[in-house]
């Protein structure tokens, strides 16, 4: 268990290579968007990070349910790892979104449903971390974390719908297009390919990171155990 698994090393290499390839695709393969120009390139990683953020929080809620049913600390480690990764990617989403929004919407920030929901989501999971840090006993920390991961994840779609009932200016690139959205565009085939590839890259990256973080959790628990053994 202590030695790094081979598959993880393979994943490290694959994820790294895919990321380099994705950057290359974004800059050299995908065509320049007619109206928005270079800043549109941010879109490939922006949406991919948003996808990973949502995926991570969904994984966390799923493992929260598993933990409550099975009461096995392994599920708790995955849940915490997923939340931490989710927070980072949600932040990347917000930052890359702002970079894009500045020239296109003429503002770093608007109170658009997706932006607002992303921010509320960040706050939910910051609260999750604060809850955990306020509890000493590992088993209780895990239980409360699981409950809040579930509650938090369920609130996200409702938050989104509640804010969407206000009018939105965020473009919907995938699926139906709202004519009121500013900065919308149609993807060419090459764009679609690049986009799909960056989604895949980020997903592989997510799995790799998650694995690393879970392993770190296992190891730090082991250190804790050894410390206790030394004391007694």
């Amino acid at each position: 268990m202590n030695a790094k698994p081979k598959l993880l090393t393979v994943l490290d290499v694959v994820a790294g290579a895919m990321f380099v390839a994705a950057v290359a695709l974004v800059f050299f393969y995908a065509p320049l968007e007619r109206v928005m120009g270079l800043v549109q390139k941010v879109f490939y990683f922006h949406v991919a990070s948003a996808w990973i953020g949502m995926l991570a929080f969904a994984v966390a809620a799923f493992y929260g349910v598993l933990y409550l049913v099975k009461k096995d600390e392994r599920y708790d480690r995955v849940e915490l790892a997923a939340v931490e990764i989710g927070i980072v990617f949600a932040l990347i989403t917000i930052v890359t979104g702002s970079i894009w929004a500045r020239p296109i919407w003429n503002a770093w920030w608007t109170w658009d449903p997706r932006l607002t929901t992303a921010t509320v989501m960040e706050l939910v999971y910051f609260a999750y971390l604060m809850l955990r840090s306020g509890i000493e006993e590992p088993e209780r920390r895990a239980r409360f974390g699981a409950v809040y991961a579930i509650i938090g994840f369920l609130s996200v779609p409702l938050t989104f719908f509640s804010i969407r009932l206000f009018r939105t200016i965020h473009p919907v690139v995938i699926g139906s297009n709202d004519p009121g959205a500013e900065g919308a565009f149609d993807m060419t085939q090459k764009m679609t390919q690049t986009f799909m590839f960056s989604l895949l890259t980020f997903t592989v990256g997510f799995v790799t990171l998650l694995w690393h973080r879970v392993r770190l959790g296992v190891l730090s628990d082991k250190v804790e155990q050894l410390k206790l053994k030394l004391q007694s």
Partner: protein
């Protein structure tokens, strides 16, 4: 006699920390067992497991013929608990507190039973007063009344003397004896040896997460309970040292 509490190979872990290790414990019906031990030995944790408030990590626990945690509801119905906190509502009167708990336990003929219990713990004339105006000793006596309201087979007491002065302790003991005499099984944790010596019929020493020794009241040697207690703890410490030395080899 039959065992009313049976615990075998009980382990309780809090994360990496092991609080109870391979604990075996057996109480016959009608015994009054005092659990003695230094702070941090796991007495409160053990009592919380017996009272169904905390789940065992490993091992089996059965109380009044029902196993924990799966048959917790059946155990709870047959269990009374007094802790060092009163578990009472300060803004309710003595009577209302009992009324509330009586409803939670679905006690039959509640008002007659309440009269009886209030009489037993000597609070009949204060029944309409708010619990918040009670002294610690009176609160603790009412807590005993609350715990025996549903006529439990087993009574668990967690450091019931904490924070009481001499007189209050004596009155509490009087109330406890009245309950214990009536054929209930009692398990009490305490670090007050002299109080425990007056009350219990059996003394178990809990240290390092397991029962280190058990002695019947009539078997205590001339040097008394204190002597037995010290000897057992010393033995436990030596054993632990030997284990360590063996492990080092």
């Amino acid at each position: 006699m039959t065992a009313i509490i049976e615990v075998s190979r009980l382990v309780k872990r809090f994360g990496p920390k092991v609080v109870l290790r391979q604990l075996d414990f057996r109480v016959e019906s009608g015994e009054f067992v005092a659990l003695l031990g230094p702070n941090g030995a796991g007495k409160t944790t053990f009592l919380r497991i017996l009272s169904s408030l905390s789940r065992p990590t490993l091992g089996s626990v059965s109380v009044a013929g029902y196993s924990l945690p799966h048959q917790a509801a059946s155990v709870r119905r047959r269990l009374g608990v007094v802790s060092h906190l009163p578990l009472l509502y300060g803004d309710l009167s003595a009577e209302e507190n009992l009324l509330f708990y009586g409803r939670m336990y679905a006690v039959d003929k509640l008002s007659a039973r309440m009269d009886e219990v209030l009489e037993q713990v000597g609070l009949t004339n204060r029944r309409r007063d708010l619990v918040r105006t009670f002294s610690r000793g009176m609160q603790q006596r009412l807590a005993i009344g609350r715990a025996i309201l549903h006529d439990p087979e087993v009574l668990l007491l967690d450091e019931p003397h904490t924070g009481l002065d001499q007189d209050a302790c004596d009155m509490l003991d009087a109330a406890l004896r009245q309950v214990a005499v009536r054929g209930r099984t009692v398990v009490m944790t305490s670090h007050d040896l002299s109080r425990a010596e007056d009350l219990a019929s059996r003394f178990d020493v809990l240290a390092r997460g397991t029962i280190q020794g058990s002695v019947q009241r009539q078997d205590i040697a001339r040097d008394g309970l204190l002597g037995y207690y010290r000897k057992t703890l010393e033995l436990a410490q030596n054993n632990a040292k030997n284990h360590k030395a063996e492990a080092a080899l």
